[in-house]
């Protein structure tokens, strides 16, 4: 106790006199003791939360603020920015047909991922929730692509999908030569190829999430339904899917955010320059191509701010309108309905 009192009085001595009067009141010792623990709690909080706060402010908040600052300048990256242009960078971003292109590509990937991965993953999860032979192996195989790093996936697929690559050779060998295509180079096909690779890679993640969600549905519900004479499909439609809702919504949220941030696969497969030509550029590759690769760091920062705001807006809207109903406890809510 003494140790905590000493620093407090020291601290007080430097802060002026108006507090002195209050301390002279009869209840001072009691208050002093409470204040002592108060201070200690605060110090504890500061010490424990400090490092994390510093990291968060230094590596998240500060860069965002800096990006906003640089975004108001034309700046080539040398020295301090001096050429203040106000909102001009933002005006260029929103009138650039290339940027409209990347928004379309991102929207396509967001929607495509949901529509392709969602249904397939649910079906796979339902299947894998049955007691079938080799279930463990199939689960591992489906989850495997998710574990492999993006760089390896990108390099592997880009080699296989080359015009003279393994995929086309295979098609030829099995007599489907007519289906050979420039999977990566043809601007009409490339984004579908990208969607296929993304689906292949991330579907395992969805399946694992859904399987976990299925495990949490109480067995009694199925038993009761069976006793009432419900068919397998009726059970899935009326019980499993509604109760899987919260998991699906969380997965969809993660999928949307991931699709908005998509960068590495595109960058590996289509390189630094031609993603826009192939029709697979995303907001992030646009930022790198027009910011760093072009040496327009001011412009690139403005793009970063736009991406940040778009992602933030999507996340907030989704949280507000879709995820909110899950917070009250989905099971009881749904059961009541």
């Amino acid at each position: 106790m003494t140790t905590s009192v000493a620093p407090r009085s020291e601290a007080r001595s430097g802060t002026g006199r108006n507090q002195g009067g209050a301390d002279g009141s009869p209840s001072a010792p009691a208050r002093r003791a409470r204040k002592g623990t108060d201070v200690r709690t605060r110090v504890e909080i500061a010490v424990l939360a400090g490092p994390a706060t510093i990291m968060f402010v230094g590596f998240v908040i500060l860069p965002v603020a800096l990006a906003a600052y640089y975004g108001f300048y034309k700046w080539q990256g040398y020295g301090t920015p001096t050429d203040f242009v106000g909102l001009q960078n933002y005006a260029i971003i929103f009138t650039d047909p290339d940027f409209r292109g990347v928004l379309l590509h991102n929207a396509f990937i967001v929607i495509g991922s949901l529509l392709v991965q969602g249904p397939i993953a649910i079906v796979l999860a339902l299947l894998l929730n049955q007691r079938i032979r080799g279930r463990g192996l199939i689960r591992v195989l489906i989850f495997l692509p998710y574990v492999i790093s993006e760089v390896i996936v990108g390099t592997g697929w880009s080699l296989m999908l080359q015009s003279s690559g393994a995929v086309n050779d295979l098609l030829q060998a099995v007599g489907l030569g007519a289906l050979r295509a420039d999977w990566l180079s043809n601007p009409d096909i490339a984004i579908w190829t990208l969607l296929a690779i993304i689906s292949w890679k991330y579907i395992g993640f969805a399946v694992i999430l859904f399987l976990a969600g299925l495990q949490s549905i109480p067995e009694e519900l199925f038993e009761a339904a069976q006793l009432d004479g419900a068919s397998y499909w009726q059970i899935q439609r009326r019980i499993t899917l509604p109760l899987l809702g919260p998991t699906v919504r969380i997965w969809a949220f993660l999928s949307i955010i991931g699709s908005l941030q998509l960068f590495d696969l595109v960058y590996i497969i289509w390189g630094q320059y031609i993603a826009a030509t192939a029709g697979t550029s995303t907001m992030a590759t646009y930022m790198v191509a027009n910011g760093r690769m072009s040496g327009n760091y001011g412009y690139g920062n403005a793009v970063a701010v736009v991406i940040f705001l778009i992602s933030l807006a999507v996340a907030l809207v989704y949280q507000r309108f879709v995820l909110r109903r899950d917070t009250a406890g989905a099971l009881t809510d749904k059961a009541d309905r």
Partner: protein, 432 residues
């Protein structure tokens, strides 16, 4: 009380953040004193093989001749060099001597006051034995900012065996002849031209060369200043490029073909006789030889200059070509740094440079040691060229250059028109 602690916490936070920030920028300050011992740092991009050994030996020899100077070498992977250099220049811990790529990148450094003006310190050897054209790439505002060490003129590298196989005699000198040869190669079942369009610039180099044929020297230099691509020759070059692209001369899947990495790259296709030719700078023989099955130089490699196009305003024989060189940072010790730059251009050093890099040395008296027939062809064309232009993406700066490159790739992929090239360039100019 609460407010007080918050304030204290905020102050502590700011303090720590400042400390962290300060810790980041407190790099080693390498520049030595004026009198007595001088030490310098030196950044180049040869991280392996004979190139790395060459720089180690060159520095050692220079130190032996100048006992008061010590130079610390740092070899940095080529693709990482520009980013690291920019960070170092920004934080005030720039290397004293470093690779200079010229063009818009150099202009940005000059405008930021980061480079040393070496105009007054160029030695006698360098002045008399390096061509004005080579120095030209490093001039800005009437001053010289870097010392050239090699020249990389561009043209078409081809496989003599494949040409023979297709029944082609001699090398084409006009576009009509080139188109006829391409048809012959196609008829013989050989992919005529390799292009690494994934990197964008290799495809754009076709446009550069058509522009060099269509535009006069004065148009090219004037455009570099105002970045206005209004002269009709730019559109003409686009039309010529499109006409050539429409003959479908390139390898399968060119859009996702890289230029230099692996056997599937354009250089790899030439190295493995999968394609007959490619348009590339004079560094290509080195790249190709690293990609042949046995890792040795391609025995039947040949070279011919970019064919002439009739009706253009460009002087016949003009070439595209880059210069590699080195700059001193503004803070470097002037005497020692410029001495080192001058030493790089001396004849024996330049001869060793040629042997290490298989590239054409900037010093003309050292060019006599070049033995490879293809490099001799390059030299012959280069020394006859009435005008040598640096690559347009370098000339017009990173920003416009990048946009130019990608718009040519768009044209190649059938996604854009000839007019889009100029349109895209003007859009890019607004971003910079």
């Amino acid at each position: 009380m609460t407010r007080k602690i918050r304030a204290a916490a905020a102050i502590a936070l700011i303090g720590v953040t400042t400390l962290v920030a300060a810790g980041c920028s407190a790099g080693s300050d390498a520049a030595g004193g004026d009198g007595g011992k001088v030490s310098m740092t030196f950044w180049h991009n040869s991280t392996t093989g004979p190139g790395k050994a060459f720089w180690a030996k060159t520095v050692k020899d220079f130190e032996a001749k100048n006992p008061n100077v010590t130079i610390k070498i740092q070899a940095i992977q080529n693709e990482d060099l520009d980013g690291k250099l920019q960070t170092a220049l920004n934080s005030g811990s720039a290397p004293d001597v470093f690779l200079q790529r010229g063009g818009g990148k150099m202009a940005a450094m000059v405008n930021a006051g980061q480079l040393m003006d070496i105009s007054g310190s160029i030695g006698k050897t360098a002045k008399s034995e390096i061509s004005d054209a080579a120095f030209g790439g490093y001039e800005q505002d009437g001053k010289t900012w870097a010392m050239p060490v090699d020249v990389n003129p561009e043209g078409i590298w081809y496989s003599q065996d494949l040409f023979e196989q297709a029944g082609i005699e001699g090398t084409p000198t006009t576009m009509d002849e080139l188109n006829a040869d391409i048809q012959k190669l196609k008829d013989a079942g050989i992919q005529p031209v390799a292009v690494g369009a994934k990197d964008a610039w290799p495809a754009a180099h076709w446009y550069y060369n058509f522009a060099l044929r269509a535009c006069s020297e004065s148009t090219l230099t004037k455009t570099a200043k105002d970045l206005k691509f209004t002269n009709s020759c730019w559109t003409q070059a686009g039309k010529d490029t499109k006409a050539f692209f429409d003959t479908k001369p390139f390898n399968d899947g060119y859009l996702t073909t890289a230029s230099q990495q692996g056997a599937g790259s354009s250089a790899g296709l030439v190295a493995n006789h999968k394609a007959a030719m490619e348009l590339m700078g004079a560094w290509d023989p080195g790249v190709i030889s690293s990609l042949t099955p046995d890792g040795k130089p391609l025995a039947d490699l040949g070279f011919f200059p970019f064919p002439e196009v009739s009706g253009g305003k460009g002087a016949p024989g003009s070439m595209m070509g880059a210069v590699d060189g080195f700059s001193c940072s503004a803070k470097a010790p002037k005497q020692a740094c410029t001495d080192f730059l001058n030493y790089m251009t001396e004849k024996p050093v330049q001869e060793a440079y040629y042997k290490a890099f298989n590239a054409i040395p900037a010093n003309q008296s050292a060019q006599s040691v070049v033995t490879e027939p293809y490099l001799k062809t390059v030299l012959e064309a280069y020394n006859k060229a009435p005008f040598v232009s640096n690559y347009l993406d370098t000339v017009y700066g990173q920003n416009v250059g990048n946009a130019l490159n990608t718009s040519v790739v768009n044209l190649l992929a059938g996604k854009g028109s000839v007019d889009d090239i100029v349109k895209t360039i003007n859009q890019a100019a607004a971003k910079g």
